[in-house]
């Protein structure tokens, strides 16, 4: 990585949800601020800014990461995925998103993006998850509304659906 000057802005280029993006960033700019305010990808939320709550979780080269503990310049050249990149089309929901809606697995929806991102990454590695495993994964996130059980139910159902056959995408608008 090149040496960066603390006082200068640097061009950072990476792939966001499959599209090339770039912005000017001071070295201290957080990835959350770069995504949200620099690029307008406000689906990633900031809940604690110290890495505990998990609301800001994004995928960097496929691996889940806390965007609040990541600097924007660390995204240089990476493949970044956020909640905006999870659904198959603008008016569709992914299998997991549809399961969340069916099971009332969200209320205020502030923490949801991070949970979806973590589950997406986990199910790629472990397509046959047990409930305990899913509780561990979701255990890396704080949700203050749902009491978690509906999230686990949704995740179990979506995992089963994804195994069977990718079902028809559902319309986002009821």
């Amino acid at each position: 990585m090149p040496r960066l000057s603390a006082t200068a802005r640097h061009r950072v280029a990476f792939t966001l949800n499959g599209r090339p993006v770039s912005l000017e960033a001071e070295p201290r700019l957080l990835a959350t601020d770069a995504l949200r305010h620099g690029l307008g990808a406000t689906g990633t939320h900031v809940g604690c800014e110290h890495g505990v709550c998990g609301a800001c979780t994004i995928q960097i080269d496929g691996a889940p990461a806390r965007a609040c503990l990541t600097l924007a310049v660390q995204l240089e050249g990476r493949d970044v995925r956020t909640v905006e990149g999870l659904s198959p089309a603008a008016d569709r929901l992914s299998v997991m998103q549809a399961a969340f809606r069916r099971h009332h697995a969200l209320q205020c929806g502030f923490c949801t993006a991070g949970i979806l991102i973590s589950l997406d990454a986990f199910l790629r590695e472990q397509p046959h998850p047990t409930e305990d495993e899913l509780r561990e994964v979701v255990g890396g996130h704080l949700c203050r509304c749902t009491g978690y059980t509906p999230i686990i139910r949704a995740a179990l159902e979506a995992a089963a659906q994804l195994l069977d056959a990718p079902p028809l995408p559902e319309p986002a608008h009821v």
Partner: protein, 986 residues
């Protein structure tokens, strides 16, 4: 009339809110764009629990890049007046410290800059000189005559003391077979929504008008408080709310003081200003539920029947009794007898201030504090009298035939069948299963317990209940307060589509979905055809003081009012259609998107055509119909009357019922409690959306689980705030939150339009005490305070620790015995220095010498022979910061002994301590320096780095003496063996 083909209300349909939230298209406050030129605020906060602000020097900060304005308490005092509270007391409720700080985390200055990064940079450059005062954090200590007084004009920290008496409590106690009591110290906790506060404010100097966007939740009685504080009429404070809000649980009522602060910042910066709170700010200073000390006594018959209750509640509202406080203490006033038929009641309510963050709305709002005492008492009655706990609950229940039931203190319970609810909860072997599991566990030597709790869940608050804190005479003078105005607007556009708007400000509850269901049913339309808007703008939407989203009022009040508005509009449409179809209005039906004459299939009109008629053809409106375009309904229940002369108050409109039952097992080695089974039975009247009701119950249960086992906003005895991160303030995660069994019984409320009652808060009231009762049953203890951390449980069940060795105890006493919540760092040590005591003595009194000894020192100024000031850079773990240090020498006994008292303060926190240094001549010309110290650290450093402090203090002190030894030793002696001369312990 043709039967309506679909009834949406009561179905668990998918939420209209979800698609946007699931795909990252939510519109939370920080997701919305701002006007070009909008500046960003960062807030500097007090590191002291109690101190005078001697000076604020913002010269350097103001000169930093991008800084537009710096706002201090002085500016605030010039442009605003203190916020009014519910109490008539001489306390100035400033939203930012004016001349004095009274809790750690209190705002002291605001930097407004081009971006948040630059604003935070400048915070570090503001120099504030504080003169610390003694502080008090314990509510009972704060009542003491010698307690430091927070607000001088109030004269004492006790700001309200009211006694209430209903029936003949004294006689009942005198005649009672048994008198029992419980004492509870209920801790501070909070709702901790995942989204923090946010405000974007703008000010128009020509109209003297503020426009403020905030994720405020209500109640909108606080709008009046804000406008008055900003010194503008209500119509010059336009308050808007974003479409989405990331949870609140009551807490976002606390945005109000920040709406004022950022409004003032925008005025001074002459530009729009945005502020998003961070998590440390939120935990330390947003809103806490009150901590409360309660003594509850009962007069009881031999059969376990309660004939009287006597409550003594000491409510801790923190440093300022901020509106709507002391509402937490009075919200439950009508239902202080819970689910029980108890005619005699005495209550003493005291409100006390302490050096902690102000309190406010938190889910449950007064219920957790009350039911923890009441239901612990029920269990204690059973244990003490040798009765079955469930039998004691049953013996005291209000019976079905008694509804509507007037409680001793004036609540009118609308409906219920408590005995049946309990019967259903324990039926189907649910209780038998718990008992079987308990028997098996105990037979195997394990600690298993069963707990119960019954609670009446109030909802739809009477805006007048808070005035119970005033005497009848004071109330008379102020004018009666009562009611709970709800409002909803239903409108039809020129193509006949239906829109709904309510003043309810949801934070994730799914109001748009439920309102669409309710209104669709009224018009016989599909729910998808109804558009619902819930973001609120006080400048143009209908609202009133009770607007907002709190006291579980949505289903009972707001959805019902939407139904009312829709029904009015439908009746007008029926009149229009009747005129068009030439039939009687009573014949008109609405279903399947059509308006038709019942019994005549030829007479049918599309809904849209009838609905649009008022726009296109007002000449066709029949007599008596002005328009059918827009109906705004206001609804306030007549049952919510003002408090009576004798202090009876119907504090809430609806009273749901909860009965919980739990089986837990306690691990005696670790103190960990495992929830084996949890059953919760609810009566929330008519259920409008079962899925959302289940969501409310599960979410409330999870928060209650946190309150029971993990969560406490903890303070050290010196007022330092200790739980500023989610690594310190622990919320339950998916791995700690068990699945629960949820049961329902429906007794519709006769007082609400749809028969619904609130449901969102119940488990926050019932679950902590149900689990505590189960733990008490498992380990056989009488006194049990929350949170039930493993350490606390282990201490209760473990065998006594062996006594400390005598020598050790003596040393502890010498250094000051540890107090509860004590975060004091203590230590002692010895250093040997190759210099005479006189030489060392001279160094301690020499500013320049001190400068070279004090770790990280950038220069010492000598203010007097014994008083020095210095700038130092200190690091605690990863947190390194610049501090102002002050050192005083006292009790001088030269060249033998001196006391050094020092303090440091900086943006990251404060520290203070004192140490006694004794110099004695040793062998070989060495001087032995013995020292002992006590130190405490506060501010940000204490809130986020508490675990690191001990080691850091020892390292810094060691550095000091190492430097002293190095410096004092004559040049020849300062060789490699110096390190060996420095002995240190402690």
């Amino acid at each position: 009339m043709r039967p309506e083909t679909i009834s949406w209300t009561g179905q668990s349909v998918e939420r209209v809110e979800d698609a946007a939230l699931l795909t990252g298209r939510g519109r939370f406050i920080d997701d919305l764009g701002v006007r070009p030129g909008t500046l960003h605020a960062a807030i500097l906060r007090s590191p002291h629990a109690h101190a005078d602000i001697l000076s604020i020097d913002s010269t350097a900060a103001a000169a930093m890049p991008g800084v537009a304005a710096i706002v201090t308490g002085r500016d605030l005092a010039r442009l605003t007046t203190p916020m009014v509270a519910g109490l008539k007391v001489a306390v100035e409720n400033w939203p930012m410290a004016v001349e004095r700080v009274r809790y750690v985390g209190e705002p002291v200055a605001i930097v407004v800059a081009q971006d948040r990064y630059l604003a935070e940079d400048a915070l570090d450059a503001i120099e504030i000189e504080y003169a610390p005062r003694p502080c008090v954090v314990d509510p009972l200590a704060s009542l003491g005559a010698d307690a430091p007084v927070l607000h001088d004009k109030a004269g004492a920290n006790l700001v309200s003391d009211r006694c209430f008496r209903y029936g003949e409590p004294e006689a009942a106690f005198a005649q009672a077979a048994h008198r029992l009591e419980v004492s509870i110290a209920y801790p501070r906790n909070t709702g901790a929504p995942m989204e923090t506060f946010g405000v974007v404010a703008d000010y128009d100097p020509h109209e003297d008008a503020y426009e403020i966007l905030a994720n405020f939740q209500g109640p909108f009685s606080i709008h009046a408080v804000m406008a008055r504080c900003l010194k503008v009429p209500g119509n010059r404070l336009r308050l808007r709310m974003p479409p989405d809000s990331g949870g609140s649980f009551g807490v976002k009522q606390g945005v109000a003081p920040y709406a004022v602060l950022i409004g003032v910042a925008a005025r001074l910066a002459r530009a729009p200003v945005k502020w998003i709170e961070d998590r440390l700010e939120h935990l330390s200073a947003a809103v806490a539920a009150t901590n409360r000390v309660t003594t509850l006594k009962a007069a009881v018959t031999s059969e376990g029947r309660i004939t009287a209750l006597d409550w003594d509640q000491v409510e801790d509202c923190g440093a300022y009794p901020r509106a709507p406080e002391p509402a937490t203490l009075y919200r439950m006033h009508g239902n202080m007898t819970g689910a029980y038929d108890i005619a005699n009641l005495a209550i003493r309510n005291r409100v006390v201030l302490t050096n902690k963050a102000p309190t406010g709305l938190v889910r449950g709002f007064g219920g957790p504090q009350v039911y923890y005492a009441l239901e612990r008492l029920m269990q204690r009655i059973a244990v003490t009298l040798g009765l079955d706990p469930l039998a004691v609950i049953r013996a005291n229940l209000i019976q079905r035939g008694q509804f509507p039931y007037r409680t001793a203190s004036g609540a009118l319970y609308d409906s219920g069948d408590y005995a049946k609810a309990i019967d259903l909860a324990v039926a189907d072997g649910r209780l038998a299963e718990l008992e079987r599991r308990r028997n098996e566990a105990r037979a195997a030597g394990r600690r298993y317990g069963i707990g119960f709790a019954a609670a009446v869940e109030p909802s739809v608050s009477n805006m007048g209940y808070i005035t119970s804190v005033l005497t009848a005479a004071e109330r008379q003078k102020a004018g009666p307060k009562n009611g709970a105005q709800a409002t909803a607007t239903v409108s039809l556009d020129p193509v006949g589509s239906v829109s709904v708007h309510v003043a309810s400000v949801p934070q994730g509850q799914g109001h748009r979905t439920v309102l669409a269901q309710v209104v669709a049913d009224v018009f016989g339309l599909s729910r998808e055809a109804i558009s619902v808007v819930v973001d609120l703008d006080t400048g143009k939407d209908a609202w009133s003081i009770a607007s907002g989203n709190y006291s579980s009022r949505f289903a009972a009040a707001v959805a019902g009012t939407a139904h009312l508005a829709a029904t009015r509009l439908r009746d007008k449409l029926a009149a229009i259609a009747a005129s068009q179809l030439d039939v009687a209005p009573a014949q008109i039906g609405f279903a399947g998107g059509a308006v038709f004459a019942t019994g005549d299939a030829t007479k049918t009109l599309p809904f849209g055509r009838v609905a649009a008629l008022s726009h296109w053809s007002p000449a066709l409106l029949p007599d008596g119909v002005d328009q059918a375009i827009r109906e705004t309904a206001f609804w306030t229940p007549p049952e919510l009357a003002a408090p009576t002369e004798d202090d009876q108050v119907n504090s809430s409109l609806c009273h749901g019922f909860i009965f919980d039952m739990a089986g837990v097992e306690v691990d005696v080695d670790t103190g960990k409690v495992r929830i084996d089974r949890y059953v919760t039975m609810h009566d929330c009247g008519r259920v409008l959306h079962p899925g959302m009701v289940e969501g409310q119950i599960r979410g409330g249960f999870a928060q209650a689980l946190g309150a029971t086992f993990y969560e406490e906003l903890a303070y050290a005895y010196d007022g330092a705030f200790l739980t500023g991160t989610f690594a310190d303030y622990l919320l339950p995660t998916a791995t700690e939150t068990p699945d629960i069994a949820i049961l329902h019984i429906e007794t519709p409320s006769p007082f609400t339009p749809l028969g619904a009652k609130g449901v969102g808060e119940g488990n926050c009231m019932s679950t902590p005490v149900c689990l505590a009762n189960a733990v008490a049953d498992a380990i056989g203890v009488a006194e049990l305070d929350l949170p039930l951390t493993p350490a606390r449980i282990a201490a209760l069940v473990a065998a006594a620790e062996p006594a400390r060795p005598a020598s050790d105890g003596g040393r502890a006493a010498e250094l000051g015995a540890a107090r509860p919540g004590d975060r004091t760092l203590r230590g002692e040590g010895q250093a040997k220095v190759a210099a005479t005591p006189e030489a060392i003595w001279a160094m301690l009194l020499d500013a320049e010498q001190l400068a070279s000894i004090i770790p990280g020192c950038h220069g010492v100024r000598k203010l007097s022979e014994t008083h020095f000031k210095a700038d130092v850079t200190l690091g605690v773990g990863p947190v390194k910061g610049r501090y102002k240090a002050e050192i005083r020498l006292s009790d001088l006994d030269g060249p033998k002994a001196a006391t050094l008292t020092g303090s440091v303060s900086g943006a990251l926190g404060t520290g203070g301590g004192s140490g006694r240094v004794i110099l004695s001549a040793g062998e070989d010309g060495l001087t032995v320096i013995s020292y002992s110290y006590e130190a405490a650290v506060g501010g940000k450093v204490a809130a986020i780095g508490g675990r690191l402090l001990d080691g850091a203090a020892k390292a810094i002190i060691a550095q000091f003496f190492a430097a002293l030894a190095r410096k004092a030793a004559p040049a020849g002696a300062r060789t490699g063996f110096f390190a060996r001369l420095l002995g240190r312990r402690g």
